[in-house]
Symmetry: D2
Subunit: 355 residues, 4 copies
């Protein structure tokens, strides 16, 4: 079943395809009385918007959001909030090639295998364009948990990783890569340009930190905060890996090394480390929540690759059109949005059970 | 809310604590007419059972499963299947220390922060003992998707990884580490012994492969197979990282390298690679499903570590008692079970929507 | 939590208020490959449309539906179907009275008690206008279960009930009351006119029958077909009672009278009666599904009634504006839609579990 | 799909058949810190227990509940509460007749049509025995909403209804019929005896009132309190009708008659009537919640009735064994339990969204 809803009590449902008339989200379960208008959502969409630099797709979308319901006199009413973003730049082109042959790495073959056919225009439902709906919904989620600050950045493009010693929060929004390391950003400019010109693409690692999450949010086992965050991150197009805290590196540590020791602190414990990424037993410890997300390289590349047609014949395909040379870059606001959506949901769930 | 249910139409709910009278699971939505008795479940539990070697906890549990409902004349009836495993070896001991002080890396502090108090006996609900319920439920799930073969193994303990060249499927059940590389298994014997004797513990990486999954299972976006598998794996105690296919390594590849090229094959495409781990756009491609799961080192260690008490005073704590020196080892049957549970659910969902 | 989603695998979510820019629904889980365009939905909306006779509200809404996603080349793709209906005739008026004083029988006071404030324009989310979204979604549901024929009608307005001896299916769409008894329709004309002129309103009973539902759809207990239909019907504005089969009358029968005896039939049993309304143990028996639904009289009446203001002061209020003198009449297409939505969901669920 | 879970955040799942080893429920999402032991549940089970008078089935079940998880030191921990009741009196008998022929009015044929076969011993999953699990879960729910008082009674057996003028709350637990009218109880003794001796059975109407529900619980539309209560009541075996407030009688009222007028009161409005049954727009108004539930006559009767066999041959069947002559009587504690379960869930949901 194509479930397109995420969340338990603060829930959102997205709809829309790359080349349909519009995309959107319905946010349900939002508390009433929160100040909300389009201006509170638009800046987050603008951060994700395509066409803002030569390092993202050249599709020109204003990504102007409209609130169609759930808000009255500038405040949420507690009823579903319908958000719509019109598709403006669905450039008419010839899709006959992609309609007939499967692009390796893409969802083309899998969709055909599942549904018998597919909307091949620009990737249809599997297009990264869907993530604009998440960012819009995420902007609402942020308002539900105003005490939380969520900050993501690109940690690596391809095999080139930032130097933690250079980490500067102020840099993140100062370059087209959401890169906190100015030196790395300079290198990436060349690197991404080269990939773009070669008709190739690059993967990326996005890191995210949420501070201000109170100890106690989350829940054991099947609603573990780790599990919800992993599901949220993995639901984003092109994501193939998630780590909470030290993640795979923790597997190489000993129990003593991995233990986040505690000392008496002002409010609860003062932790001496945060290998756990702020989550123990699925529940927030009050430390910063930390996660890392791996984006594979964009599947749409100009370089021709071996494939087959719908009829099973051998073929070669090159994906012409406008594509992100590194889809992970614009993943930054999307990861932030998903984290906000998980935390808003968990905040309400915690209040439900624990008052 | 402490959701303890997993799945959408093939669903299971687990209950029980380490030191209560029993643990169990209720499996709902199982198709009718499937041959099922305790003997079909017990072997899987036996693989996970504690106390079978000196490399796992010395708690002695027979882990004998009883089917209390949902089966008649040896076949599933389509009604909920209640599975119960009695706790036998809840050794009486003095819990005053762990009741008062928080074990770093453990769920102790987080549970107290959330619920105001906790069942401190043996970890309560956060104990790895809960995973026996998953293995029992997973045994039922396997019967729902008999065409699928699911196989997990330990790929690394601490920083010592197997040599893929030595991979031998027959080895996996031939040593106490579920290790497919005989040479590595020999090294790990020493390594785990050393950690155990030092009162330390080790992390591990578990890999899993599911073959026979037909192209088409899974669904876009919020029910992406990647997302469901990540949520499933991350819901296991001590797991902090999940990768599908190449995972984080894919982030370092170029689009051409990462493309799983296709040639005409006997049934659908013959893929030339499987960087995607058998999933594209959230939907199975028919290739083997591949994932990797990172287990942190067991938090319960004999080495004393700095901590605080419930009253906020400075303290030191060493976790006496019987613990797995490397909880990832017994994670192998648990990862397999979770993969089986996800696939059974997705198989039914696919049938619901696509006939 | 204001859950605005209905269904388990064939699910829909509605959004929108009476006086916002639009209302709509997102249908998720629809099987792929079903022929669908606006023309397949519009006729059902036209049946529910206000302003078609003097016996319904005089609000003039074209209720033109737009499909924004989930359809490609005239067929459903298996991805979410977004349906939108613009609000055209939100006549500007002075809402100061209704903003300040609670209309008895209305949701006004309850919304304020829950949310702290409310969108008072035309009833906001509690307006019967929301049911247009259900009718649109229901039109899609019908296409999922084409073997089923769903037919509802008004059985009583106020205390005036049709004569079963006069039942004529062809009459139902031949008068403005969806009344299968021409004689009753004639009487109702006067009755509803009188109520309208007196500034009063009337309740109604709607009956519904679904034929062609195969034995086996439905499920025991918490997803009993009776339970799903009751939830569906009771979720409609103004509904306060539901009966399956003989309903309350069955409580006055003896076991022998109530037993639906069986004889050998062509395909399964030939039933001699249908007291159970086509459902036994929560599962369809293959007989027609029969239910009855009670609509209370429209709460919006011109007759002034005693009430209080938001500040707790005594007041009197008369609801001016355009209202249905008998909201049950336009309930007919809504009940049909909800039955279609339940059956589409159950059809897919049955296929999921029982193949 | 045989969903056996009810509730959104306070959820319970039941399992078990009439003649299996045990039945039970898992309660999930219960707030932590609530005093709970078996003694807090047992009295509610004792009220429902069979064999306590000659007017209920003569099956002798102690219905002793055991808490297997979720409670520590006499308080709920916030983790799932597993409740188990052993089946003791599964009298061995010859089921060959009922295995072969379908009992009219029973779930026999429908189960076979759905699942291909069924557990025919004592009704299997469709047995009223399952309701013991609901009563146990409901006892926990009551503790979640201690401010609410829930009281149900039998209002009619067959066509003999109580006289409201005789209503005496103290009578309800003073006779074997949960009848608030002593005169009616006397009449019913004869009536039920006569039915029992004739091998017949009787239907019943159960009424229920919940006081102390604060204005604001509930939610619009698909989680309307009316809808949740209707689904809950209709999920009980043998229930075929539900009314909220005046229910079907409201359909015969005019808008003025049905309006629950308000005057200034001490805390919120003083209502002059309660036609709405304490719910407007799906949300509690603070008035008593009132509902009525119709139980059909027990399907198991000694009188032989015409039927068919599994092979489609004509047959006649009489249901020997121990059965309730009027299953609605023991429905009283079950309706109360379901109302408690709905209200506990809604209380937590309200807290989630509205703080």
């Amino acid at each position: 079943m194509s479930y397109n809803t995420f969340g338990r009590v603060f829930r959102f449902t997205t709809w829309g395809e790359s080349h349909g008339p519009a995309i959107g989200a319905v946010v349900d379960g939002c508390p009433p009385g929160i100040a909300l208008d389009e201006a509170a959502i638009q800046p987050w969409l603008d951060r994700r918007r395509p066409g803002t630099s030569r390092f993202t797709t050249q599709r020109r979308e204003p990504d102007q959001v409209r609130i169609l319901s759930g808000v009255f006199d500038g405040r949420t009413t507690g009823t579903p909030i319908s958000l719509m973003i019109e598709n403006v730049d669905q450039r008419s082109k010839d899709y006959s090639e992609v309609a007939q042959a499967y692009r390796p790495g893409h969802a083309d073959y899998a969709y055909d295998a599942k549904y018998g056919f597919r909307d091949y225009r620009g990737g249809g439902r599997s297009s990264a364009r869907e993530t604009a709906s998440r960012v819009a919904a995420g902007a609402v989620a942020r308002l539900v948990v105003p005490q939380v600050r969520i900050r993501a950045w690109v940690e690596a493009i391809g095999d080139d990783t930032i130097d933690p010693a250079n980490f500067d929060d102020a840099q993140i929004d100062a370059n087209p890569f959401f890169c906190p390391d100015a030196a790395a950003a300079a290198r990436w400019e060349e690197k991404v340009d080269a990939a773009r010109k070669a008709g190739s693409s690059l993967g990326a690692v996005v890191a995210c930190e949420a501070t201000g999450v109170p100890a106690g949010w989350g829940a054991p086992l099947y609603a573990k905060l780790d599990s919800e965050l992993a599901a949220a991150a993995m639901s984003i197009n092109a994501v193939k890996g998630v780590e909470i805290g030290d993640g795979f590196a923790a597997a190489a540590l000993s129990g003593e090394e991995n233990a986040d020791r505690m000392r008496p602190g002002a409010n609860g414990p003062a932790f001496l480390a945060n290998h756990a990424g702020g989550i123990a037993g699925g529940i927030a410890t009050g430390q910063p929540i930390r996660l890392r997300v791996a984006f594979k390289p964009t599947s749409s590349i100009l370089t021709p690759v071996e494939t087959i047609t719908r009829d099973g014949a051998a073929a070669e395909i090159a994906t012409r059109g406008r594509h992100d040379p590194c889809v992970g870059i614009r993943g930054v606001p999307v990861v932030e949005a998903m984290v906000a959506l998980v935390l808003a949901d968990q905040a309400l769930l915690h209040r439900a059970q624990c008052g």
